[in-house]
Amino acid sequence: MLNNRRKVINKTLNQILFILALMLCWELLARTGWFPPLLFPRLSDVLRTLITDIRSGEIVGRLYFSLYLIAQGLALAVVTAAVAAVLALCSPIVSDWVQAVMAILHPLPGISVLPIIILWLGTGPRSIVAVIWFSSVWPLIANLHTGLRSVPATQIEVGQNLGLKGVRLIGKVLIPSAFPYILTGLRVAWARAWQASVAAEMVFGASGGEGGLGWFIYKKRFFMEIASVFGGMFVIIVVGLIVERLCFEWVEARTVRRWGMTLE
């Protein structure tokens, strides 16, 4: 147990050192003057502009905007997936339909529907939410569908024996029993949504100069403020890591791992 923990710490330390070394290489390489600073800025410049951008409130505002759209898209996707999976649970015919639609649309990258979405919904935040929804809804449905089907029949019968049926049976037995799959679905959906929001905003901001991190990067490139472009990318990486490592791992440790329900 303790030994194991030391191993994990060693591994993390090793990885951090390697990343620091890479960053040092970046800085030194940029300082040689072999490359035009406009295209390949120093890391120190990137970090300095990043701090300025954060202080000015610009990054925070953009980040907030991105997260706000993602929250909307993900919430819609969760509702859609829940409805689809529960209907599929109730009827084998609907289950076949859901599987067919999933097989056809799952491989389609979310961003590829953007041109159509723009035609239908215009170039506003609604379109970005729609792309986020489209990118995250399939992994959610897939995992929810599998999760609900993998609930042991015995557990359902125990619930029925105790008088549970319908919504109460779903809420008290099926959803908790499928939770490991639901968590995996949410994880994948979050990653997809985050990528989709950035990608969609690269095409247009939102409306009236409003936009998220993707739009920030796009605009900075337009004005050739390359250090800020890198800064925006840093923020995207850091937020992704924080949500994945802190939020999801935190939930996982308190749920599926505590319950001995990990999928692998």
Partner: protein
């Protein structure tokens, strides 16, 4: 006759229809189980033991016949008939031992108040000898302990009948006999009616007052053996051995799976006791490999 206390099974038949064939699992079962009785059901694998129990629990709908509990026809699952399964998955892994029991009290609305639920849960966990394990999660328990939790959970809603489908079938021999003793004590303390399915002859003799022997294809009652051996019952008792021989010959005559019989006749001659155990597990194996048409 129909207003009798306890469970009355009248002319029960069950046929499963699958895509390609119909399987008659049970045919013309008539059985009465009195209040507070401990009945064992024994029979070869695939003879419909589980199906019978599942019909009583109303997880399956009988094709013919009916089930009366205290004179009332029962067609829906309910807490008056609680099932304990063989399978360890029956516990909810996301709930602690205590919460698993409280879940039953809450879901069945047997006890509404949280504090009372907790007290009841602890009472029944104490009854099955799990004091001190209330806050463990199921994955932290041994197989025997999991089955104890399942028994406590089923008993907590105070059912009239406890239906047990080979609950000790996945346990090692030592844990199994410890749990048999405990179950007998629990039965005496709670006075609950128990219908206990097994394919282990020893288990059927040690536990119940009556042994219902089923035969296969289609599943029906071959004979019912009254068991009034003095308790505590011991395998060293000559009467136990007589009873054992009797059940064994009833089963042997009616297993209806000849290949196993042939494979075993050699060994039957060497040691009848051991062989019959092996016989049934082999029969199970064969049944799994090629289920009857």
């Amino acid at each position: 006759m129909t207003n009798q206390a306890g469970l009355v099974i009248e002319n029960l038949s069950k046929t499963f229809h699958t895509k390609h064939k119909s399987i008659q699992a049970l045919s013309g079962i008539n059985l009465t189980v009195g209040k507070g009785e401990f009945v064992n059901i024994i029979g070869p694998s695939g003879c419909g033991k589980s199906t019978l129990l599942r019909c009583i629990a109303a997880f399956e709908k009988p094709t013919e016949g009916r089930l009366l509990l205290n004179g009332q026809e029962s067609t829906k699952p309910g807490i008056d008939r609680m099932m304990v399964f063989q399978n360890f998955e029956q516990l909810f892994p996301w709930l602690t031992v205590r919460k698993n029991v409280m879940f039953a009290l809450n879901a069945s609305t047997r006890v509404a108040n949280r504090i009372e639920q907790r007290e009841w849960a602890d009472h029944y966990l104490n009854l099955v000898g799990l004091k001190g394990f209330e806050d463990f999660y199921p994955h932290q328990l041994s197989g025997g302990m999991k089955q104890r939790v399942a028994i406590a959970r089923a008993l907590s809603v105070q059912p009239e009948i406890l239906l047990m489908d080979e609950p000790f079938g996945s346990l090692d021999a030592i844990t199994r006999s410890a749990l048999q003793r405990e179950l007998f004590r629990i039965w005496q303390e709670t006075k609950v009616t128990i219908i206990f399915v097994t394919h282990n002859i020893d288990e059927s003799i040690i536990l119940g007052d009556r042994i219902v022997v089923l035969k296969a294809n289609p599943g029906r009652i071959h004979s019912i053996v009254e068991n009034h051996l003095p308790r505590p019952r011991s395998k060293d008792d000559p009467q136990f051995n007589q009873m054992w021989e009797k059940i064994h010959s009833l089963l042997n005559a009616e297993t209806g799976i000849p290949p196993v019989e042939e494979r075993l006749t050699g060994r039957v001659r060497q040691d009848r006791r051991l062989t019959a155990g092996a016989y049934l597990s082999l029969a199970e194996e064969v049944h799994r490999a090629n289920p009857p048409e």
